[in-house]
Symmetry: D2
């Protein structure tokens, strides 16, 4: 059970078959959300939309469906749906008709004052068709007293607080926005024909043959329309708080994010981890796939050879019919199988990118020992997760975060490993820099408090 | 191409498996709308909903789906979707969250000032997720300054004008409402256990074993909740304008409506038609199924024997893949087949309930002649349709209504029949009474004007 | 619970978009089987097939599916699947590859020596992929020692006994065959372009604009291929035994069958029934739709007016989710609703085409009385069904046939009717003729015995 | 475009919820075939089956479906369907009824005399419902003159030649068989309760918690029924010819096969490759995932650091809607994305497990150079593929195998790499041993010739 990213967003302006490009972009962003997917396109003032529960391919992977999404401008979204949100009306992009016409919004992030604003809106007579934060943003735009869209947008954005990387589509223009804290990523790319693409991560650009141009800046609004590209910075400048977990786990290793290459960051965490917490062992075994770059770094630094003692089953579906005569640890077995030939009689350092509840680590230690490992040492390429996230990540409650209430030694005991060590926060800062990030899941210090 | 009724509605209060009863009720009302169906149920403050395009059986006919609709209170809707409304967000019942909690509305009818109200709401900052009139009603309730639901409801209803037979569900109560003109039907029934049922037509009660109690009165609001049944009449009393076309075509013949039995009304129109426009002929042939009661009345009065010269194919699906080497008149052939043994060398009076565009009549005359009929006389058991409906019926434009611009003789020529006659308006009034009905599709005199 | 016909078959030779025409033909034959549908077409030696469970429209009603069935020759089938046959391998047409190439067979009927032949084939090493009789016929053709297809076909057909109306497709030719007893119907029609069509009933020709040419004769094999149409009569001539129940219930009233018009036959049974068993009553009420023609005949003869006291719900789907707090008689209510205005205080003669188990009659009598009927007299337009059918009809077991073990008075009592009468066998023979039919379900005298 | 394995098979005897275990086993074997899946179970003499096109999860991953597959004995199959075999009748396991009852066969492999036998069978009157080899085996068993199943089975198996690893289910017993050459794998495992499992690879045992017992021997028939486990060796012993490509590419790295651990074999090929064809470079980059173990071996031996310069997108679906304004190399981009941070200015050795057509290598070289690689050296961890396989692998035609007609230097030029080298056949033999394998795709020397 890893943390879950809520969403990936992608939009394109001024390209024939825009929806098809967004569809491919959503594929590249599938790791950011697997529960639902949707695309809205625009042509001649009409919005075309297709949404549903399932992977991008299941929901949208049909020639007829893609062809029905007409126009040269489109926005898409995929999403990890949170508990209780299993209504189709919550599938993004959220669309509505309001005083200035039509609008579609794809949102990655989480508002910390959503409850308060929604309460006020409802008291004033607003009606809600979904339980998503995104509908709040539309209401604020719709209710703003300004006559001009940009003024209304800024008016609305100044009311909301929290994490929001947004792509907004109007009939003939596309907006890309990041909150002033810059919690979640959002980048701009360009296709050969000059068409502008926005996406949560640069890996989406690679797939469709677009060139990465730059990240959207914290607090920036980028507009692309018939007049070209414009940039606005309506917010007071505040300290950046980019989610460091994007580097640790969420972002695809082949994405280039915030002036760093994700894969390189991960490898470097393994190197620092090795220097902080070396161990006498025979092999370094990554928990695939997310632990691989750190394991490589750890191996390079310690000169303990890397070996693949855990094999991942990539065909594993999302739901299983567990036999009622239950098979022990089926969940973990479905994902990983130990490689006995590698592990037998070996002292193993197993590298994972993070440790959240501790249950997976415990099962993996057991699996490795059953496969013949003589010693199992856990090394985690990030600091202990002690506090939940309020900025767009689906974390367990504080109680379920094992490091919030257990010492490192207690966690080791629970995991049954011979030793266990985390990358220190200082170590992490050595890799990414000590400024400009949100480290709150490791520290409990929140840049903005959640408002009830 | 007959006229299309927009919808059928059904709701139930205080019955285990409420959704299943509503499901059966919607089956009985399937003739009022075949394009989409939906049910919303309520239990412990949570709304459960299932909606989709297709017949009631296709959308909801699955044990798992029905079982997922928990609670002892439920409301359902089926609908003929109008052009351009092919978005799932338009499928009723429409639900929303607003200042007083949750609400679900099923609406049969059409507001004549929807455009105006929506414009104003949008200017004030409202956002719309559907293009349905029903969402307007929810906005008006949500925006009302009253603190009490009933006050807000009355406040909202006094703003809207037009045809509205509504079933509204709140967390723990059910409302049945008819507009002050009383355009569309809505009845109340009771199950053995005392559970109250509302439905567009009494045939829904028969299916689920409920007893018909009475029609909801024009301008009446009936509420059923833990305190029992209450009735409110907040509107000034005005002249009733019940849609006479319910008797002529829409309602099921086995429904009991507005103190009359529908089948009996239709048979009587045939009798009056016979006395007004007799003809020397060998057989009376109904256009099945809607022309049958009138044909029986015509036959009884004229003593010309009834015979079934047109057979209807009841398995015809809704969409056909027409061979590109097209078969002539496939549409009509798919519905009807002439019975040569009956028709050969006969002088035929063919009885239909109404004549809208004239194209079907023309094809039927041709079909009857090809099958051997010596003469074909058309008799229509309602007056000429000269004006479109604004109160919940999908009529063609005035231009397409053949009687709006052609004389009876011109229509006869177009139909290629040997003679053609309509029931007179006076004749119709002899059957149903001359007061209390909306005859505007026959007269062009509208009780309330459409507002742009 | 009426008797069930097993199947309808349709084939076409030498028409562009052959599969589309067969698709329409199967629509017209939908009443002969609603559980599965299939089409196989042929082009350039390749067979294209689509089959599935459901109505013709559900299984095949998709442009892509129809377009995938290439070629100018095609054969189709729809089928009422019998108990236990819920495997897709039993859906017809059955196809196979054998010594002379490819073959597809659509079969309407039932072999009485299937068990014996199959046993022998299996002993000789044959394998079976389905439990259908049809696969036996393919085996016999495949195993015949003749080198020529026609010789093999005749060889095979001489082994099988029972009811078989077959359409057989080879790569470039189409065969239509009826067994020597002529149990089941099969007709030949022609399209404007000269293309030949075969179908179980002529109503299929009407729909696609084909002209009825003639019935296939008992024991006749008609071949249509590039050399034109040829007819073969390889069997010794025996007495015809056409299933009289086709006239009574199965065939569509608008079909022209065995030199008679089905509707006319049914009306005439009502006339004879009236003269045999008149009753003093106020109205004649048909059980819709199959009892309508006989009711008309009964009314014409007795001068008791026809009236529609039972309304049929044509949208009823095939499966219902019955509330666990069950509604009494839901099954019958789903199909029929009584028309109180018609029935109140009336002495009613209710006319049905046949009476099989008695349960439906019993429920209808109750329904009519509850609706106000003062007296209810049942008149059945066919003789008592006393014996099951072995020739292609799904009859209940002898034990379940109420007339096999009960006197007419006992049945009346069970039905709770005031009086009950059947058409006599002599009466039926007056209508259809006393020679050339299989009356075995009324007499228990079987033209060929079932072989175990 | 890699080679494709035709199938994976799995069977279980004497376990409650047998089908569920087989379902999980098929998941573990998903890599052996992704186009269709099926399970047949047996209880009380009745076979229950579910088959369809798609991944195991799509076809069978539903509680209702699994629950419908009753019994304690089951057999399953997943399959890569070859061109033209898109008929459901070809989806395995193939079932039939024959002289001794019911039979279901799951087959991994390919018969080289199928054409000949089928021709003879067809001449003798056999009919075929599928185009699969497997139906031939059923025919041979059905036609055998022996009265006892085992005698019939041996009789049939002595007629067929080629690759066949079979699991055969009868009403109450399960058979596991490998052809005398032992081309394809098949292993036996045991669950805690003693239930016997057969599967193509041991990774299926790991998932369901079964213990690997041993491989089925070439030419061995293992029977498990109420009398326990028996083994038969009816064939003359001949030289083993185990498919060496199982080690190179097909088998999952975590499977234990033919007394070797697959992952270890692959790593060792990389080591030998390194010693045979070293190169002066900065990093070793595997083509993920299949090239990873060999790359690790290559890196370990050369001390050139391993790094992940190509990232694989694991969510890629199987079909894509390519924009008509096509994006160059979309296919490869969908699978891989280069890691610029790793590649920039580096001399790269890229390791792949095999090279078939050369097109993927060419695209990868280009991708690596575009991402900044200074030099690209291709090293292939298996010998050149020069001849197609007739024993159960889907290879391109000889013409499409680039090494069949091009020198190594020509292939290098085509690939645009700076250097290119293959593992020598001798090198491969050093890893796996020089006896007991089929090397025919590398040599063109076939142990048994294909018979037309």
């Amino acid at each position: 059970m890893k943390l879950k990213e809520y969403c990936g967003v992608c939009g394109i302006y001024n390209k024939e078959e825009a929806a098809n490009y967004v569809y491919l972009g959503l594929h590249a962003l599938q790791h950011r959300g697997q529960e639902s997917a949707g695309i809205v396109s625009s042509e001649d003032g009409i919005f075309y939309e297709q949404k549903g529960f399932g992977l991008v391919h299941d929901v949208l992977g049909d020639e007829k469906i893609i062809a029905s999404l007409k126009g040269k401008i489109a926005v898409g979204h995929n999403r990890y749906s949170t508990y209780g949100d299993d209504s189709t009306s919550n599938i993004q992009p959220i669309t509505a008709q309001y005083g200035l016409g039509k609008i579609a919004i794809a949102h990655n992030g989480n508002l910390i004052n959503a409850y308060k604003i929604k309460k006020k809106l409802v008291e004033e007579g607003a009606i809600f068709n979904s339980s998503s934060d995104t509908e709040i943003i539309i209401h604020l735009i719709a209710k703003s007293r300004f006559s001009n869209f940009m003024d209304r947008l800024v008016d609305a954005l100044k009311i909301i607080k929290g994490a929001f990387s947004l792509i907004i589509m109007r009939e003939n223009e596309l907006y890309a926005i990041r909150d002033p804290w810059g919690f979640r990523p959002l980048s701009m790319g360009k296709l050969n024909n000059g068409a502008i693409v926005f996406a949560s991560e640069s890996c989406a650009f690679d797939l469709i043959g677009a060139k990465f141009i730059r990240d959207i800046k914290p607090g920036e609004i980028v507009v692309v329309n018939k007049d070209g590209i414009s940039s606005y910075n309506p917010f007071e400048q505040i300290d950046e708080h980019r989610c460091v977990f994007e580097y640790i786990y969420f972002a695809r290793p082949d994405s280039y994010l915030w002036d760093k290459d994700v894969y390189g960051v991960r490898k470097r965490t393994g190197e620092i981890l090795a220097s902080e917490s070396p161990v006498d062992a025979d092999i370094v075994v990554p928990v695939p796939d997310s632990g691989v770059p750190a394991a490589l770094g750890y191996s390079n630094t310690t000169h303990i050879p890397l070996d693949f003692g855990l094999i991942r089953n990539h065909y594993v579906g999302r739901t299983f019919i567990e036999p009622s005569q239950s098979i022990r640890n089926l969940g973990v077995k479905l994902k990983f199988n130990p490689e006995k030939g590698v592990l037998k009689d070996k002292r193993v350092v197993v590298i994972d990118d993070s440790l959240v509840r501790g249950t997976t680590s415990r099962r993996i230690v057991k699996m490795l020992r059953n496969a013949g490992a003589k010693e199992v040492h856990i090394r985690i390429a990030s600091p202990p997760v002690v506090s939940p996230c309020f900025y767009g990540i689906d974390t367990p409650t504080k109680k379920e975060l094992i490091a919030s209430s257990h010492t490192q030694e207690e966690i080791r005991k629970y995991s049954t490993a011979d030793s266990l060590a985390y990358l220190s926060l200082e170590g992490l800062k050595k890799v990414v820099g000590d400024k400009g990030y949100c480290f709150s899941c490791f520290t409990g210090d929140y840049p903005i408090a959640f408002e009830k």
